[in-house]
């Protein structure tokens, strides 16, 4: 019990870094391996959230609010990206009836 308590009180910074790195990597792998535009997009969001988590951790660790403010910016701009991105995906879907990026080969890679 006490163990749990102390652990909850002070998770070392390294763990945050590892966790974020893992989440970030999952996002990267998702982007690289998935073929569905929406899933790719979600993977990107995962990457951003890994960043947010880490920034917050650093911010608390350094006792500097700038990091958390940065998180706000990331969230706001990620939202803008979401808005635009989803609109683009819908636009593509309406033309192709698919969100698989494999159909995006009219222009060769």
């Amino acid at each position: 019990m006490e163990n749990l308590f102390t652990q909850a009180a002070g998770v070392p910074l390294n763990h945050y870094i590892y966790l974020s790195a893992i989440i970030f990597s999952i996002g990267v792998i998702g982007v690289l391996t998935r073929r569905n535009a929406i899933v790719i997009f979600m993977s990107v969001e995962l990457m951003l959230n890994a960043v947010n988590l880490l920034l917050t951790a650093f911010s608390v660790h350094n006792n500097d609010p700038a990091g958390q403010v940065f998180v706000f910016f990331i969230m706001a701009l990620a939202a803008a990206e979401v808005a635009v991105g989803l609109a683009i995906i819908v636009m593509v879907y309406r033309n192709t009836k698919s969100v698989d990026i494999n159909v995006l080969n009219r222009l060769k890679w």
């Binding site: 909850a8 403010v69 706000f72 969230m75 939202a79 979401v82 808005a83 989803l86 879907y93």
Partner: protein
């Protein structure tokens, strides 16, 4: 100004989540075993006002809903900038207020644009 919350403060919330989750799962499992099981194919079809259902329900729906969703994402996220300002309103004083009013003005410009573009007209 106000007390910093540490991770300990969130521990009880986790307790509550555990309790709620336990309740939900237990109940779901329990009803699964308690109820009678007499399945017929008619029963397992989707019910659409007694008419035979046609095609998959997961079709594209009106873009209006979609636009609302996008607008929500934008506006809701912009609102989060106001929370820190509101909490620190008395510390930031006049400067903060003017800046936030400019921010809100910009937001309003976008809002008026959206309305003018008749995005939010439902017919």
């Amino acid at each position: 100004m106000q007390a910093q919350s540490s991770s300990i403060d969130f521990l009880p919330i986790i307790f509550q989540v555990i309790v709620a989750l336990g309740f939900v799962v237990t109940t779901l499992v329990a009803t699964h075993f308690l109820g009678p099981k007499r399945k017929t194919s008619d029963k397992l079809e989707t019910f659409e006002a007694g008419i035979k259902s046609v095609g998959n329900a997961r079709q594209p729906f009106s873009i209006k809903y979609f636009v609302v969703a996008i607008l929500f994402v934008l506006f809701d996220v912009e609102v989060i900038f106001m929370y820190p300002w509101a909490v620190n309103f008395r510390t930031l004083r006049m400067d903060g207020m003017i800046e936030m009013f400019i921010f809100m003005g910009t937001l309003l410009l976008g809002f008026i644009y959206v309305i003018k573009k008749k995005v939010l007209d439902w017919n």
